[in-house]
Symmetry: C2
Subunit: 231 residues, 2 copies
DNA sequence: AAAATAGTGTCTATGAGACACTATAGT
DNA sequence: ACTATAGTGTCTCATAGACACTATTTT
């Protein structure tokens, strides 16, 4: 059991949100080398006495101001040359954040929210692209485009059996809003009738009796999620 | 970006097999403290210039003699006190090994193959137990019972959409053998007719035209898997 | 012949998709 | 009235489970 030299252990967090039928990610412009001028994920090194989960929470909160969100371990990245300065093993996490909460927390950090473009279908996987408001592709740092891609792949798969769509919405939402979230994540249209049936029969939604307001059409009923889970 | 002290990074491999309708795991008796006399997973520290995947392959091969098997990253474990000697982050992998290959490689290592008892149903998750031949429960080292449990949970989930059952069989096998593998992993009976239809319509099996031998009943047709994947 | 499993055919239950229809909000 | 979406009812199609039956091997 000899250790040789020790790599550094970092935790990077891919925080995703959905807005206007698009996927968005929280990123940080790099002001120092390496990858200066490129965009990276919020990340940091683990402390000696904190767990991986705690490190992910701490890093997300201090870098973005976000707290009390869905946060789950994603994958560990350890290619030898992924950081040109030193050997760094990164344990990646992903977070799902509702858009309104994200806007409120934005004042805190040096982070920006950029649009994700997913150049593959289904769960094929691979790197994704960051796009600026004008549609220009933004350069990414390290292997963070792969990490973001794996986060998208993960939530696409998870949507088939877990109710993670709720994590991207406020506490009360209509079935149409929830369907829009699912369609955005999967990047395909879903059948309305089937979606309603599936959601209502899952037992995870409870009707509030209230309806949405300020829409220029018949308002839908507002539902709540039975339990709002965090790590 | 200051690193503080560096934790050690280890890779542990949960190598699983199926035989006689039971799950088995490759474990190593610990001859030194901590956890002397208990049973642990094959593991080791990562080298400075090797990737995580390569480290998992190396550790599996040197400790167990196993090569060319299905090997995939599972989860990273980083609780602060999981190793009483030092801060160790362990990136866990799981491997699926066909029983005959496992018996052949056994001569090589100091490893043993022990039966797994899974005390939870479905994909509830949690630690599993190691059992000796006489049914006695064996004590485990570190958090390795949790790692093994997560490996079982993972393959149970994966069985719903991926053909990993093949990895636990020799190149040619009958549908009954494959169904037995699935039933052992899931710990429940499956419908024969439906299982046949699902497997045959998946397009992943090709009939060989040959039949099994040395069985005391009508022999089933032997099938092969379209591609034998490794990492 | 008996035992055991292989393999096929068919019926039913379930769930998804398609489609049509009615209901209700804002403009 | 018009538009847009909410919400319901029903038909069809695909798939899983159940069951019955025939086929084929060893003992």
């Amino acid at each position: 059991m000899e250790a040789g030299h020790k790599p550094l252990v970092a935790v990077d967090v891919a925080a995703l949100s959905v807005w206007e039928r698009r996927l968005w990610a929280v990123v940080v412009p790099r002001r120092a080398e390496p990858f200066r001028g490129r965009w990276g994920l919020p990340g940091g090194f683990i402390r000696m006495h904190e767990s991986l989960d705690r490190a992910a929470e701490r890093i997300l909160t201090t870098e973005t101001g976000l707290g009390d969100v869905f946060l789950e371990q994603l994958y560990s990245f350890g290619a030898a040359g992924r950081d040109p300065r030193a050997r760094v093993i990164s344990v990646a996490y992903y977070a799902l954040v509702d858009w309104n909460q994200l806007q409120k927390s934005k004042a805190m950090g040096q982070t920006e929210v950029m649009r994700l473009h997913v150049p593959w279908a289904g769960e094929a996987g691979g790197a994704v692209e960051l796009r600026a408001a004008d549609g220009a592709r933004l350069p990414t740092a390290f292997d963070h485009a792969e990490i973001l891609g794996m986060a998208v792949k993960r939530i696409r798969g998870k949507l088939n059996y877990a109710p993670i769509g709720f994590q991207l919405l406020q506490k009360k939402f209509t079935l149409r809003q929830l369907q829009e979230i699912h369609e955005t994540i999967l990047n395909r249209k879903l059948n309305k009738d089937s979606f309603r049936r599936r959601m209502l029969s899952s037992g995870l939604l409870k009707a509030t009796g209230r309806r949405e307001a300020d829409v220029d059409h018949r308002p839908g009923e507002l539902y709540g999620f039975v339990r709002r889970s965090a790590i």
